[in-house]
């Protein structure tokens, strides 16, 4: 928790509170006959050019003064202004809450707080920008992001509120769907869910693969861990750092998506061995540090820590060279102490005593390690994760259906590597064949282009897939190829909201 960012927030919070105080003062003065009525307003800075198209509500019918436009309440003869006033109050209130709770919300989140009031997403987009402009800060300083930043890959089917179903290619990371656009998620056949701390990480030791810097999430996704693991099929998810509300909501949805008569697949977290890694996992599990009652409903208490733990990186160390061990920075140490001091979960005798110990060990030895160190092991990151999943009891044997399927596949192929056959494949083929949803969601998604590239290759793969007679192995090869293509193009994408990897 870097202090300078807290200060930055405090400034914005103060600005919002000043507006509310002004309104409150005006309300109190209402009984004072000497103060003219119609004094309740929110000042907005005028923009030189209207940045939006005709649909957007215009502010410029109000009287400008000193470069500001006042949105007043009540506004005689201007009925739309009352609505505008309400919209602004609502957005400012939500921003204030997000800032105080140190959570990041997307414009979409704000819209869904009150769709009846906002009417369209555009309203929110417009006023968020205007408020940022008025305060002279970036939108990000208001803890508002443009879109979801999380990625997900794996075997699940989304059920939309309008009754349609969307099947996501399990092999390709997709932007996380806005939870409001999802009614339910079919995760039958999923044996595990893995939350990965980050997508992109420049690896200091140089080449992780021949392609240069690689990300753990994409490495695992392209190695097809979620489909070809000995630990069964799974779902992988990342928020690229500290999770936003959408990613947390989505994980929360996933965690409750199992059939009523079965138990939820285990949910694991794979993080760096450093204070931020633990803080990120803690955000998924317990919410942000300042306990936010609002987001408590997004907590996923069942998360188990898969690694990277001190034992994973230190076992061989203390003996040989520093296999990927790094020194803590001053900021890391402050963060660790801050967490020990402030997090309820890390107090003596509290829920996360293991985390408390791990932070203390980091401080004692002054070491940390990134999850990329796992790549040095024999089976790479994938092998390591697989071992851990199996060791944690996520085994094929637990799911008889899967076992059968895999045996079948084994016989057919006579290969060691399991193809991406899953129990409910036929179901989703039927459901999605007519309307395959290919493109990623989210406006302005930077991976849209890449997804379009993928479209072609996937349609090819799909054709092969739909053809009942086509041998599975061929399909697998097709998929493999497309993954490689997909990965190369996707790797170029700038991950949105990277600056927000720091919890405020």
């Amino acid at each position: 928790m870097a202090s300078y960012q807290r200060h930055a927030n405090a400034e914005v919070i103060a600005k919002i509170e000043a507006i509310f105080e002004n309104i409150a003062d005006s309300l109190l003065n209402e009984e004072n006959p000497y103060v003219p009525v119609n004094d309740i307003f929110i000042p907005l800075r005028n923009k030189k050019h209207t940045p939006l198209n005709g649909n957007a509500p215009s502010l410029f019918d109000a009287e400008p003064s000193d470069g500001f436009t006042n949105v007043s309440f009540p506004a005689k003869g201007r009925p739309k202004e009352a609505w505008r006033f309400t919209v602004l109050i609502r957005i400012l209130d939500l921003m204030h809450e997000a800032l105080c709770d140190n959570v990041i919300v997307s414009k979409r989140n704000i819209y869904y707080k009150d769709p009846a009031l906002f009417k369209t997403q555009l309203t929110v987009d417009y006023y968020v920008d205007i408020i940022a402009y008025t305060f002279g800060v970036s939108r990000l300083a208001l803890n508002v992001t443009a879109a979801a930043k999380g990625l997900v890959a794996g075997n699940f089917i989304l059920k939309r509120p309008d009754g349609t179903q969307a099947y996501r290619k399990p092999g390709v990371p997709q932007l996380i769907d806005d939870p409001h656009d999802v009614q339910a998620i079919d995760i039958s056949g999923v044996a595990w869910i893995l939350v990965i701390e980050k997508e992109v990480c420049l690896w200091s030791k140089g080449v992780f693969s021949a392609d240069g810097p690689q990300s753990t999430f994409r490495t695992l996704a392209s190695s097809n861990l979620q489909q070809s693991s000995r630990a069964g099929n799974g779902i992988m998810l990342t928020a690229k750092g500290y999770p936003d509300i959408s990613t947390r909501s989505f994980l929360r949805l996933l965690s409750g998506s199992h059939d009523l008569d079965s138990i939820s697949p285990p949910i694991y977290a794979l993080t760096d061995f450093d204070p931020d890694g633990l803080a990120i996992m803690s955000t998924y599990k317990h919410g942000s540090f300042k306990l936010s009652h609002e987001s408590a409903g997004l907590n996923v208490q069942g998360i188990q820590w898969l690694g990277v733990k001190s034992q994973d990186v230190l076992a061989g160390n203390g003996q040989n060279e520093y296999n990927g061990l790094l020194r803590l920075s001053g900021r890391n140490r402050k963060k660790a102490v801050d967490m020990l001091e402030r997090s309820e979960m890390l107090q003596e005798g509290s829920k996360e005593e293991e985390w408390r110990r791990e932070l203390q060990i980091m401080l004692m030895l002054n070491v940390k390690a990134e999850m990329e160190v796992l790549a040095e092991g024999e089976g790479g990151v994938k092998g390591w994760v697989e071992e851990k999943l199996l060791a944690n009891g996520t085994s094929l044997a637990a799911d008889e259906d899967l076992l059968e399927t895999h045996q079948l596949a084994d016989i057919t192929l006579g290969e060691d590597r399991f193809p991406s056959l899953q129990a409910n494949e036929e179901d989703f083929l039927l459901d999605t064949h007519g309307t395959p949803e290919m493109s990623a969601v989210g406006e302005g998604s930077p991976s849209l282009e890449a997804d379009e590239d993928l479209l072609d290759t996937y349609q090819m793969a799909d054709t092969a897939f739909a053809d009942e007679g086509s041998p599975i192995s061929q399909l697998d090869e097709d998929l493999l190829e497309t993954h490689q293509v997909g990965d190369m193009s996707l790797a170029e994408e700038d991950s949105p909201g990277l600056e927000w990897d720091e919890e405020l």
């Binding site: 003996q319 020990l340 001091e341 203390q360 004692m364």
Partner: protein
């Protein structure tokens, strides 16, 4: 010639979590851990009973403790960066006397050492400074030594109070003259983090060890490295000299504890309770002719060893 030590007693689960530090007086052993309390066990009774618990000493856990050679003053430092000075009463019970918080926010008090009479406390900081406080004068800072800014991981004061030695993360080892306040030696380092430094009882030798897995012995007056003790296979986290200066005790990350003969410059005994990290090792007062020591670490227990008789 090797020596044999036998486990005489183990205090199982002396703390609920890793024990990071041990300190001893003539009749007591103080232990601190990742939990908030410091425990005091009696060492002059065969079953090492719990004598006192200093509750809520350090809320975030306590990583280092120290006791003055005269046994009258103890100091403890917690992960929050605060030092507490404890004084012993006539009945042997400890009570808090003062607190010391480094006024420089950029720093973080880490390793600590007390002078023979407990009047002076020396401590390292994360940014490489070494500070000395006067406990009698309400914790006034009286000296501040600057180093190159590398994390000061270990510190010791010579028994005669003349020298301060510090070990740093970058491998640097410094000896300061406390009388003049000047740097006496910048020792040819161990390159890797130095996690333990200890003056011999007469103050003539300095032992230093850490991630290089060797123990270097330096002549304090000349600054020359006079010996290198090899044998540990893992990071060395703790060192302690026997009262006579004949033996050096060391504990390592892999759970191994070694006794070194200074005269022979060799390891004379190796012990291992578990493979779990040994964070701290300390000699115990002699009973009769036999030396004994205590070890503690990640297994949360305190083990007591005594030299085997006969032989």
């Amino acid at each position: 010639m090797s020596k044999q030590y036998l486990t005489t007693h183990t205090i199982d689960h002396a703390h609920p979590t890793d024990i990071f530090s041990l300190s001893t007086t003539a009749s007591q052993i103080l232990s601190s851990s990742g939990s908030s309390s410091i425990r005091v066990h009696s060492t002059n009774q065969p079953d090492f009973p719990l004598f006192q618990t200093l509750d809520n000493a350090h809320k975030l856990g306590c990583h280092h403790t120290a006791i003055s050679t005269n046994g009258q003053v103890a100091a403890s430092v917690g992960f929050e960066g605060e030092v507490k000075i404890w004084a012993v009463r006539d009945d042997g019970r400890w009570s808090e006397r003062t607190k010391i918080v480094d006024d420089n926010k950029a720093g973080e008090i880490w390793s600590i050492a007390l002078s023979e009479d407990g009047q002076y406390l020396a401590a390292t900081s994360f940014d490489g400074r070494i500070n000395v406080w006067d406990n009698l004068a309400d914790g006034v800072k009286i000296r501040e030594f600057e180093t190159k800014g590398s994390f000061g991981m270990s510190i010791d004061l010579s028994v005669n109070g003349r020298f301060t030695a510090s070990g740093h993360e970058n491998g640097g080892i410094y000896i300061f003259n406390n009388d003049t306040g000047r740097l006496l030696h910048s020792l040819p380092g161990l390159v890797k983090p130095v996690r333990a430094v200890a003056f011999s009882p007469r103050g003539t030798l300095l032992a230093a060890a850490g991630d290089s897995r060797v123990i270097a012995l330096y002549d304090v007056s000349s600054g020359d490295q006079v010996a290198t003790l090899t044998g540990h296979g893992a990071w060395i986290l703790s060192l302690d000299w026997s009262d006579s200066g004949e033996y050096l005790l060391s504990g390592a990350f892999d759970g191994k504890v070694k006794v070194w003969s200074i005269e022979q410059r060799t390891c004379v005994a190796t012990h291992m309770e578990t493979e779990k990290t040994v964070w701290s090792v300390k000699w115990l007062p002699k009973t009769g002719k036999n030396e004994g020591f205590a070890t503690a670490g990640a297994n949360r227990s305190i083990s007591f060893y005594r030299e085997a008789t006969g032989g």
